[in-house]
Subunit: 320 residues, 2 copies
Amino acid sequence: MFKEVEAAYERIKETVNSTPVMTASTLDEITDSECFLKCENFQKTGSFKFRGAFNALSQLSLEQKKKGVITHSSGNHAQALALAAKLLGIKAVICMPKNAPSVKVAATRGYGAEIVVCGTQPTDREKTVIPLIERYGYTLIHPSNDLKIISGAGTAAYELIKEVGELDYVFSPVGGGGLLSGTAIATKGLLPSAKVVGVEPENACDAYQSFKAGKIIPVENPNTIADGLRTSLGSNTFGIIREKVDQIITVSEEEIVDAMQFIWERMKLVVEPSGAVSLAGVLSKQMGLESRRVGIIISGGNIDLTGFFAKIRRRIKSSK
Amino acid sequence: MFKEVEAAYERIKETVNSTPVMTASTLDEITDSECFLKCENFQKTGSFKFRGAFNALSQLSLEQKKKGVITHSSGNHAQALALAAKLLGIKAVICMPKNAPSVKVAATRGYGAEIVVCGTQPTDREKTVIPLIERYGYTLIHPSNDLKIISGAGTAAYELIKEVGELDYVFSPVGGGGLLSGTAIATKGLLPSAKVVGVEPENACDAYQSFKAGKIIPVENPNTIADGLRTSLGSNTFGIIREKVDQIITVSEEEIVDAMQFIWERMKLVVEPSGAVSLAGVLSKQMGLESRRVGIIISGGNIDLTGFFAKIRRRIKSSK
């Protein structure tokens, strides 16, 4: 599938942001390695998801484009698909769980997509989407298990490696597995001896368990701050991960917040909890990274800061 | 003085971070212009101040280096001088007002500097520093009025223009005036017809008033969230600003917070209030920037996030 990642890159490179790779001497000191952060928080719509969404939508037939697309997503894929659809002049319907972060819902609506609210159980999403597809002929663009979504997601690691060259490890977060699958395909295609590590919240460790058991073991309604990683592997992502990923490790909620605080305070980057999970894996020292060159995919930066800024505004008012 | 900026750049370029220039299509749409943000929040120690500090310290005589340096600063210059001194093996003593943000005090101490706490009145700093200089023979490195600090600060705009080329405007925040002076020297040296605009909090508008009156009118203990801009112009910075800056505009506290929220949420950059002031000036639409190419110096990203992350940690604990 490496050829599909290369083709996706050619297809989307003029439209996606070629996001910066950031480094920090403090991070290198702490980890005793050379770390390269691929900052997809700077991607259009604030996450890597735009890569896959634009790749998938730009390959639809004229007929499909006319009828429109539908998906279910807690947020980042929703925004990404909404913007990609807007840019390509396609109607997008997005089914979002009622606990999706309000900032992500508002942004999705802002890109002109139609929102349909559904329940929080994994099966709720399908139950809402299927009747709409039957009625209106929408094309379903699955947030992670779609092969075009996976190829598009893989272009982040592809760009990273094209820019920094040889790497010993590439770390990616894993939720539905689209990013990890794409990362593994791109990495093994360009650097066959590099190791690919998936990092997952302990509280939503279906990929870890599925990888160990050799069969898909989904997780139901997991409780993790990393809201982008609450979904489970699909048939395509599981197959690719089983074949190409070297290891899956888990991190605690505290480790996720610590990594997030490190990135915000020391590297001055706004990343969402899911976006800090791969760095949390590096900082957890479960892998021997000494003197290694380590690529780290920072998946996104969409976090609700309304409360934070409301507090600052109250403080200015009271000090007048 | 443009030659001094060029010389400073040659002197410090191997040590400072060549910080990225960021753009955002949303920002260009809102302002109807092309904006280029020079992101000094990614500079070593989290602000542009490291440029001037390293430039000044690397020109000290052997005798001066042996005796050590002293300064007064609410935070960013303190951290910058502390790290520059550490890298060059020089003792640094920093006089910090008792209301300096605790995260900046801790960072300064972390770089190995000796901290002396003083009062919050403008004169308190001098009163604390002078006896120590008399006793120990320290060299005073003024945070803004020192010509080597000014030349060093100017290298940020110098790098920006070398990277992006022609600009119609360059916006810089103004507190003590070191950054604005350096920015004006660099900009007029490279692009004589570009306009340089200083942006200042309304609540600390000594530079605005001094510029208008043609004489220094200092401000006493101003109340602004932009803690890096509470200081007043000095003799050198006032002279340079009077000669080379085209306009000084002011922004309200609300405008500063709005600009900060825009940079965090939309551009995924952690900037401190002072660091958002130049963007607040652009967003305030006081200048006609339509179809113009606008450089914006984002001065720093040091903000205390302890409370924000403590709240997140409480939330994860309570949801267990």
